[in-house]
Symmetry: C2
Subunit: 164 residues, 2 copies
């Protein structure tokens, strides 16, 4: 009576389970390195990394928030923190007075450079040590597909603006 038509196969269930487990375990392990070497939280690292990759090292707040999948208010908080440390600057956009343009500073790039190798090394040790090249390739393909699927839904920043 309590049986629903199982809409996930056992294999799918275990894939889902493994996914949450891996990300839960990976996160704190990687964060430790970031905190020790660069006094960065994971989000802060992601923000710097995105800015470092962006053309001119600049980006709008909203695009950053969507990029790292974070609430807008959370991003404001973190951006303040990074700005106080001199790792980024915030300035109004010339195009749109409402927009804030975030730019990575030289100091920000320096921290990024200091932290990056160890970060990569940690990920390699934790995530890829037990995997073959083919595994890594499969993983990239499969999760890339899922990511694209999830990105198709409206992003966090489009959150409800309820009618009055």
């Amino acid at each position: 009576m309590t049986e629903q038509p199982a809409s996930l196969t056992p294999t799918q269930l275990s894939a889902y389970f493994a996914l949450t487990e891996v990300s839960s375990l990976l996160r704190p392990a990687v964060e430790k390195q970031l905190r020790d070497v660069g006094a960065l939280s994971y989000v802060q690292f992601q923000l710097l990394a995105r800015l470092g990759d962006a053309v001119d090292g600049r980006s709008r707040m909203t695009d950053l928030a969507d990029g790292v999948v974070y609430s807008r208010s959370g991003l404001t908080y973190q951006a303040q923190s990074l700005e106080e440390r001199g790792l980024i600057t915030r300035s109004p956009s010339p195009d749109d007075e409402r927009s804030t343009i975030v730019a990575i500073t030289a100091a920000g790039r320096a921290v990024l450079q200091a932290v990056f190798p160890g970060h990569i090394e940690a990920v390699r040790g934790l995530l890829f040590t037990p995997l073959s090249d083919d595994d890594a390739s499969d993983l990239a393909r499969i999760l890339g597909r899922v990511s694209a699927h999830l990105r198709a839904a409206p992003p966090r920043s489009a959150a409800r603006r309820r009618k009055t």
Copy 2:
């Protein structure tokens, strides 16, 4: 000069990137359903699910914390909340006076049953819609291997107990 020996291949990098992206996007989407249907946070759901699966529906606090990869103090907080709602009970272990045994109640099982089908359905839609059966199978195999690798490291509960 600024080039380090890239210790991750481009493929590995994109796999890593996709992994963080997928888990970041999946989490809030799934949480919405849990909150709407059962007023549960993701952790709370995981806790109930684990207890529901456990023999007798009971488990030690520490084992629960390690199982869902959560801090011990965080678990205390969530357990209090679930206990107040009558979804679990906490009682001292007969074997070990220090231990607290958490048990799921009938009400807890009821909430779990109410929430479960929708949860599974959400995961299917979000995670497995774009994937073939082979993909799911590969994902389970690969992430299962990583998970085992990560679980080999000492768990969260074995955190530093520094010498005085």
